[in-house]
Symmetry: C2
Subunit: 651 residues, 2 copies
């Protein structure tokens, strides 16, 4: 029950604009558009500070609409405040508009969306990542520069978000890392797509929140109550969950039922809606005092805050206290220089071993780099130093919560301010994270992962731990570079590309077992194409191309062949994009190209240019609990078998 007359009208305006957009788009999520509006209204008019001139201002309050299908509880606020125009609203779900079906992050200052949402639960988990980044940034700077990073992170979640497992994982982490500036508002409208929530859940949200160490409050959908709760939440030392008792599709005929979740609306529906809420809007006309209020709060309060902040930080001289801070915060840190300077003394190691040294170099050198790992640091080496971020360090132990880890990698990266975070686990458990990796790549953010134990050579842990089907899953994702590196030099360049990237995410695929270093004086220019010659030969009869662990096998096979070239392919995703001419230069063989990788992935066929003499040798079946080396051979990765195959190839 919205008590204040003005609030009722202003919230009515958000809902009215939302319904108009849904009417034009011939369908949309009317339920949350209506139920969440009192929450988004309170947040944006009373709390959230944005910079209207720069959607990427580093100290803006972050806002994530985790139930992204409720986008029309958000876009109308931007419209009423003057950030969007009528056409933007009319173009709901239309190509290249500011109002896609679900909110979409873009890395440009005209975009006011802090995270792309839609896949439920991930919005909340990304917000945990943003709040972690804020906490870390504040801890690192507050002594000298207390005003630099002070933002809050606000989230609006629906029932679905809280049913997803990732929400519990993320909430556990938020509590453990004392994210007191994270405030989650639950649009508790009691209905989901198929049914009442009570049909599939009997969870006690208060107990749930308290079990995980959260501060829990509940209130009605009256903005005054919501405001009071948020103010209380701002003062606690814990992350806060505010359950707001809302009504789905309130004022429509489908209110208070799952039929109100989404649908179409016509003039008659809107008329009934307006009458129910005692509103008299028509033809998009909104009372000037309402428009003025949105402008005054969303725009002017934001501008005032930005000005205050800019005045304070203009007196700061960051670089005088912290080496490279201006560069770091402006995302201009020179990773190339840092990683190029690393000297690897012990060669012929597992590629996961080198990772440790590269990551260590980031400690203190760039405090806005974080490493997080799903309880496998001792196996994967995904850590930066020994201290957690709460202890002033750069590591983020996250427990066995892979999916939330992925969303948190996205969230920390989305925070901006030059943040980079690498997430680690075994390659086979990339399966748990796939949707988050996809979402990061979709947002074109430089999320980074290191997945180790990359083949059957894992051995005794058996088929649940032996990957063979993960590379095609990852390589099918656009804007994602998957690097399966063969030695320390390939890893060096992969690290440089991954950390320097502004437009794509990266996965480093690393071996558990030792691999002989290639020692070929690889240059970055060679590496950048995704493939390069390891053992050359003009006009070769045979070309053997392989990645990671298999490059050495290829070199072994080559010893017994004449006129043979060996090509290492650290990044197949990039190779398939080079020109046919370049492909021929690298992979053209008089007799046969043999491609080799202990994984499923038919992407290799792209390299074959439909030459019928070419052969691809991959791995397409589950492994076994047994000695890894024997299994590897059993699956065909054996010099004698492959040589025989090549020499007997009748084509």
């Amino acid at each position: 029950m919205i008590r204040n007359e003005f609030d009722r009208k202003a919230i009515g305006a958000i809902r009215y604009i939302g319904l108009k957009a849904i009417q034009i788009a011939k369908g949309g999520h009317v339920g949350m558009t209506i139920s969440a509006a009192p929450i988004t209204y309170t947040l944006f008019t009373k709390f959230i500070n944005i910079n209207p001139n720069n959607g990427k201002w580093i100290n803006r309050d972050r806002f994530v609409l985790s139930g992204g299908h409720g986008s029309m509880s958000l876009y109308p606020i931007f419209y009423l405040a003057g950030l969007f125009n009528k056409k933007d609203i009319e173009n709901f779900k239309i190509e290249n508009s500011k109002t896609p079906g679900h909110p979409e992050f873009e890395n440009k200052i005209s975009n006011f969306i802090d995270a792309s949402t839609g896949p439920l639960g991930q919005g909340l988990a990304m917000a945990v990542g943003m709040a972690l980044a804020q906490k870390h940034a504040e801890l690192k700077t507050k002594d000298k520069y207390p005003d630099l990073f002070t933002n809050f992170t606000y989230v609006v979640c629906g029932d679905g978000d809280f049913q997803e497992g990732i929400s519990y994982e993320a909430m556990a982490i938020a509590s453990k890392y004392e994210l007191n500036k994270l405030i989650v508002l639950y649009d508790s409208n009691k209905f989901q797509l198929d049914s009442a929530v009570s049909k599939v859940s009997n969870e006690n949200m208060k107990l749930r929140a308290e079990a995980q160490g959260w501060f829990y409050l509940k209130c009605s959908n009256d903005p005054e109550e919501i405001e009071k709760c948020i103010k209380t939440a701002q003062r606690t030392s814990k992350p806060s969950l505010i359950e707001v008792d809302t009504i789905i599709a309130e004022g429509l005929l489908t209110a208070n039922s799952n039929k109100g979740h989404h649908g179409v609306v016509n003039d008659e529906d809107i008329k009934k809606f307006l009458s129910y809420h005692q509103l008299d809007f028509q033809d998009w006309n909104i009372d000037q005092n309402i428009l003025d209020y949105f402008e005054k709060t969303v725009i002017q309060r934001g501008l005032k805050k930005v000005k205050e902040w800019e005045e304070k930080i203009s007196k700061y001289n960051l670089d005088s206290s912290f080496k490279n801070w201006e560069k770091i915060i402006n995302d201009d840190f020179d990773y190339s220089k840092l990683f190029n300077e690393i000297k690897i003394e012990n060669k012929n190691q597992a590629t996961r071993v080198y990772l440790k040294q590269f990551l260590s170099s980031l400690e203190n050198e760039n405090p806005f780099t974080i490493a997080t790992c799903a309880d496998l640091v001792s196996s994967t080496n995904v850590a930066i130093g020994n201290k957690t971020i709460l202890e002033g360090g750069q590591s983020l132990p996250i427990g066995i919560r892979e999916f939330a880890m992925g969303a948190i990698v996205n969230g920390v990266t989305l925070y901006g301010a030059g943040f980079r975070i690498i997430g680690g686990t075994f390659l086979v458990f990339a399966d748990y994270i796939k949707s988050a990796i996809r979402l990061g790549a979709m947002m074109k953010i430089p999320a980074i992962y290191a997945f180790t134990h990359d083949s059957y050579l894992v051995g005794g842990d058996g088929p649940t731990h032996q990957p063979y089907d993960q590379l095609p899953m990852l390589r099918a994702i656009d804007n994602l570079n998957v690097y399966r590196v063969a030695d320390e030099e390939e890893l060096r360049f992969a690290m440089i590309e991954a950390y320097s990237s502004k437009e794509n995410s990266s996965v480093l695929v690393l071996s558990r077992q030792n691999i002989k270093s290639l020692n070929v004086n690889l240059t970055f220019k060679q590496f950048k194409k995704g493939a390069y010659i390891v053992k050359d030969c003009k006009n070769p009869d045979y070309v053997i191309a392989a990645s990671g662990s298999e490059v050495n096998l290829a070199l072994e096979i080559a010893k017994d062949l004449k006129n043979v070239r060996v090509v290492s392919v650290p990044c197949l995703d990039k190779v398939v994009k080079i020109s046919e001419k370049e492909l021929k230069e690298l992979f053209g063989a008089k007799k046969s190209l043999i491609t080799l990788e202990s994984s499923a992935d038919f992407k290799w066929f792209r390299l074959h240019l439909n030459n019928q003499n070419n052969v691809h040798l991959g791995a397409y079946t589950f492994g076994k609990s047994m000695d890894g080396e024997k299994l590897y051979k059993d699956k065909g990765f054996d010099k004698e078998i492959i040589l025989k195959h090549i020499l007997e190839n009748k084509n």
Copy 2:
């Protein structure tokens, strides 16, 4: 603290055998081997009824070691009871032994593992599926045959299981479906691989369990206390969580630290272990009275229960009361007959629409078929009737909990007794379930999924909802048939194969939009190869092969070409396995083979046989929030564009 002298020795025997195995295997999870032993001991000697002669007895108590890495807290019990011999234990992690690194389910009576475990959290969720199947079976039969399905489901979980999001999802479902015969024992040993649990969690397990409507108990690791708790748990009307206070690696130097999680052991370690626990085993010798006790409890109690059960059910005449029950329970139901009899009156529909009719035919006809859906029934049609299993029906609304849904699909299927369950959501959210789909396929069980909204044609919901990268992810999994069907007849046969399967899992990929029926009198024999000719032509210049929605596009293109054949490929996974001769018969073209699918997947290249005139047209990039048909064309799925491409192909 284990008070009883005999218990101490018997548990010591389990641990001792476990350590011996780990010593021989040169490494293993000593921590849980030791900490969980009092729990597995109590369960197997006091509660769990198995049939020593048939690991697949349908009324056996189910046991899932969710923390599968603790396999050596389980295998020694089978050894001490005489089910395994010494060689089995010595062959820990050796090829084709009974003791792989993690427990592995096999569908044969000599296998006593109810689920393959290792990927954390999924064991618990599969057990929820088993308990759901038991509940459903009991509800369906108890009035007439109260003794048929009475088993309990027991689970042992570690810290990692409870950190995974899927555990919360599964526990929410267990509570909602009142799974009172599900008893979860928590081996609370307070350390995980990287650290103390407290470093990454501050969750209150009691509140957590109670928030989700579970019955919670806590006890020490004394078997007498554990026994008392289990007895109490058996009497409650809720699922139960018993937290057992255990000590990781107790008796080893690494006890009570994360270093005790896994490692190697030598003679000296074992000596210290024995001394700490006041045990005097050596050279594998275990006191006869201990061996006798395991035999008496694990084997004899089981045999007695089986005999009692068989006597009771021998008096039952199932088929006299329920049509086809003997066939159903023996997994011999004739799905072919049922689905072949379905008459589709309204053709030219979205393939998801036909699904409704096929699934409806299972209602009452085969009560051991269940449909579950992640809150998208109205979009996907994955339901069997309107009633939930608690209401006596066959549908299982599961909330927005995709990952748990996948594990529950596995669990229900693993229950056996002819159970089939189909899980549904949008294709893009298969990403949330990937690891469970993989695990089902690995176990070679007939898990079934229907994933709808299979292309860019989803439209306005935008790139988070538009799949293009899911098919390669799924097709890379062995033992999984992915069917992307083009009309009602293809769906019919795909349903028959999926439901009749005994050895592989299946995914049905279905369209949101209407598709013109092919009307070609398809036979099952044609369908079984995975591809068949839709529009024939002897010695064609062109062959266009496509799947699902794109088959009609192929037919449209063919209208403007001479000497053209069109092939529909409902199951690419099967086609890539047929002989080269058969491939040539189907796909051999004088000029060019054009393969067409609005998805990434290079598996199509397998069909090209490296003929350089062949062309594959796929989709490799994220979509946009916009009109689906326009987007589809923008991505190249347009008759004119493709025709031009074919005719201008200079090769």
